[in-house]
């Protein structure tokens, strides 16, 4: 449970935030601390309240209840113009009739800087975002990715203490997006500016954020580093929303054991708090399923089974080639109607001579086998 990057002082503190749109509650009792220099991602499906939370932090749409402290100052009811932040929108919102230079200079005017000072700063920012030659063009003459970088340069021109990014990459095509992800992250690291980004793209959140805030239906489901969120999801929603997760009906057996279905042999799992015999959901990610021999021949010496108790013999119902790995559907009497999905490397498939219809042995390693409470379908 360590932070991915060293975080500084507490910078932004949100406590008990509520937002109502008429009868609809968009945010329910949100509390969150953000430290100086952190890159935070609000991640969640559309309508989960992540943009609402960002706009409340900016003061663009005020929360109904609750407080926001920024840099030790209560900004709960301040209009945006009296808060300290720069913002980049999905639409870029570049002023179409102003040149790139003037767009970036917009926030620098009326701040006591003289013209030459502004020109120097604008040039510096253009260098920083890697577009030093484009200053005299108009926004419409640039590509989407370039426009987004200009929007970023404009937002950081005045050195705000907080940078807010509202789905900044979702209007771009896939390749540009991957490239810009990296650039924005680099820039943020270089400037050390506390940054909050809203996104619905888990890959974006996982690659860019120091800390991810997973939201759903107006509440925070989990806060943690990308690896924590991925490896130790706090609940089934997080587990399911980020990455792929097998969910098998199971029964709790002791403090660190479960039966798949109702009556498989007891397998070891992560420790859990369920009482013996309680119906639960067992979860494991496809890539955590370890393949072993095909079930008939004895495992060779390189194939070491970590935990002989956590082994199942399964039928390889279907194999799907996905380029860098095989996605396999595995069936077993204990799984019931559900199938276990496993991602096997090309190597493993070749080594164990896996084929559709064959039987094989798989291991569900104890430390990757999680137990969650069973939820009624809603």
């Amino acid at each position: 449970m360590t932070q991915a990057t060293a975080s500084g002082e507490l910078y932004l503190s949100i406590s008990n935030l509520w937002k109502a749109f008429g009868e609809f509650l968009a945010l329910k009792d949100i509390s969150l601390d953000i430290h100086e220099g952190e890159f935070i991602c609000f991640l969640g499906p559309s309508g989960c309240g992540k943009t609402t939370l960002l706009r409340a932090i900016a003061g663009l749409d005020l929360q109904t209840k609750g407080s926001v402290m920024q840099d030790g100052k209560d900004v709960s009811n301040l209009p945006p113009s009296e808060r300290d932040f720069g913002i980049v929108f999905q639409s870029y919102a570049l002023f179409p009739n102003l040149t790139i230079e003037k767009n970036i200079a917009f926030g620098l005017e009326n701040t006591g800087r003289d013209k030459s000072e502004i020109a120097v700063r604008v040039h510096e920012l253009l260098e920083l975002v890697g577009l030093p030659e484009q200053g005299t063009k108009y926004p419409a003459q640039l590509s989407g990715g370039q426009q987004q970088r200009i929007a970023l340069a404009r937002a950081i021109a005045t050195n705000p203490g907080l940078l807010l990014l509202d789905e900044p990459l979702s209007a771009l095509d896939a390749k540009v997006r991957v490239h810009l992800r990296h650039e924005i992250k680099e820039l943020q690291r270089k400037l050390g500016v506390t940054t909050v980004m809203v996104t619905h793209d888990q890959e974006e959140a996982l690659t860019m954020a120091d800390k991810i805030v997973v939201m759903n239906q107006g509440v925070i489901e989990q806060v943690g580093s990308p690896t924590e969120i991925y490896r130790e999801p706090a609940n089934l929603f997080v587990a399911d929303f980020i990455g792929e997760m097998n969910q098998l009906p199971a029964t709790a057996r002791g403090k660190a054991g479960i039966s798949i279905g109702a009556d498989s042999d007891i397998v070891k799992s992560q420790t859990h708090h369920f009482s013996d015999g309680e119906t639960i959901v067992a979860a494991i990610r496809p890539e955590d399923v370890i393949p072993h021999g095909n079930g008939t021949s004895a495992p060779d010496e390189t194939d070491v089974i970590g935990d002989p108790e956590n082994v199942f013999t399964v039928k390889l119902a279907e194999m799907e080639f996905l380029g860098s790995f095989w996605r396999c559907r595995l069936q077993n009497e204990y799984f019931g109607a559900s199938e276990l999905i496993a991602d096997f490397s090309i190597n493993a498939v070749r080594r164990f001579e896996l084929e559709e219809g064959k039987d094989m042995v798989v291991e569900l390693p104890q430390d990757r086998l999680m137990a969650f409470p069973r939820v009624e379908a809603n």
Binding site: K28, S81, R154, P160, N235
Partner: protein, 673 residues
Amino acid sequence: MTSPSTNISSMPPGPVIKSKLSRDDIIMRSGMIVIALYLVVTLAFPLYAMLSKSFSTYRFELSQYEMQVSDQDGVFDGAILNPVDLNVATGAYSDADLSAGSDSRLPVTQLFPDFSFRSPVMYQIRNAQPGGRFLVGSTLHDDAEWTTLDSNSFRRVQLRPVKSTGFDNFVNYFSTPALFNSIKNSLFIAVLSTVVTVTLAFWFAYALNRSCMRFKGVFRLIAMAPILVPSLLPGIALVYLFGNQGMLKELLFGASIYGPIGIVIGSVFFTFPHAFLIISTALAISDARLYEAASSLRATPWRTFWTVTIPGARYGLISASFVVFNLVITDFGLPKVIGGQFNVLAVDIYKQVIGQQNFEMGAVVSVVLIIPAIFAFALDRYVQSKQVAALSARSVPYQPNPNPKMDRIFLVYSSLVGLFIVGILAVCQFAALIKFWPYDLSLSLNNYQFDKMDGGGWGSYYNSIKLGLITAVVGTAVIFFGAYLVEKSKGFRVGRSLFQMIAMLPMAIPGMVLGLAYIFFFNNPSNPLNVIYGTMAILVISAVTHFYTVSHLTAVTALKQMDREFESVSASLKQPTLKLFSRVTVPVCMPAVLDISIYLFVNAMTTVSAVVFLYSPKTSLASIAVLNMDDAGDIAPAAAMGMMIFYTNAAARILHLIASKGILRRTQAWRAR
């Protein structure tokens, strides 16, 4: 998962957070309030004044007074005379004589048959009841003291009427056939003109959008020409063509052009561009895929027309119908010129107010006229809101295919319509240049010597240009800024929707009604705004207010296309919103700003109805001059002045086009990639 219930009641009690207002918020809200107040003062208050006027009746109440008469020596015997009895005895005033207007006065000497202003007889008069008032000369007496007067002074006593509130005026209106027949007449010509105009405009728009005929650009220009002239100009042309000495009088086979025939023909002329524009837009957005589907299903052209074309354009047709109906029923200039004895509501208002000085009855007719106008307006708004929903971003524009036979038919048809429009204008121009129709057909410029005619001379022409320019500048600034405030400010939801509602109101109010309401409101001596009465300012205000709605909608449409996060970005950069407004919003919306200003200019130049009650000798206008010269029988100069308005507007349009191109090239350089 620990998601609390979505129920609103799960939120803890306590006050909701209120935003601290930024300086920009305060500036924008006060701006909005100022403009809303402007609309309230120039629209709501005058309309209220008019409405209350229509419910006010004035009557001389003789029972309110008591009088005494002395003998020949000036000695009173103490006998108190009741004027009611005196009136019964003398029969001086009938019941109708006693109903009055707000400014009426009633002399009293007729109650005394023996009265002679040289006699030594003395008179006493007093108000027997509170509220009674009488004048001696110009001195008002409203107390209960006896006033003693010699016979010469008694001659100068005048009673003042008492105001009461009620439906009497309306009862009076509906019991006077000469008045309420106008309702039927107005509806008749409005419906007939609507049917004719919409039919003609539909096929014209169809020819331009759905055929491959030639000269489409020319036809489009011609179709828009009537917008540049006052509505009464076609009336003048019709007089020349079909009037008592008309060139083509025989074509009417004895029927008179003065009346419904003339009004309908003239209405078709001046409403044509409005109907054409709306229907043309509706036809232009039809989806080609529907036609492909129809032809793949082997539908006949006739069937395709009724199942695809007409349904696709139905909202445009309905909207055009309401607009034309509204324009015709509220128009004053045309029926004034060519209506003859055929009374319509708008002219009735004018006759009551200008002819008979019966302001209350003018107000009653105004109220009657507002009803169909508001009705048509409300239905039109409803239909337009539907049309937006019918648009789809995936539609494929329809491309007509050449069809030599149909194209030729459409060319002939469009030429006939074009000939009608150009012909009307040509007749006016011809009439203006003829020395003395029909006796001396030599050409001269005599008719342009406006200074020799009634109507204000060339001064009124320059006044009109002045009015047009000021209205364009002031109106565009106020309307665009108002639209910006209402569209882009945050919070303040009630205020904003209230503003939107008030901004829609002017369109539903006929110009005549607005003008009359202005008399009631601004000409009231106790109104501090009274100073603007009779100045250019009140003309500008009435023009801006009268043409507010269309301009406002143009501005709102343009503003809606702006990225809605510009204001957020500007606020995050700590820049004042007004800087954003002037540096970004106005330049980007420049095409719309220019459209609004030319719309205001042209309409201020051509309107008669909005200003006919409000001009003063110093601020006479060209359009009014046309009306007055025509009224005085100087029809040729009226035509000449009308054509001056046409040329001025045409020139303004061309200038506007050049200016737009120039400004667009500079401010919209970003549009080019």
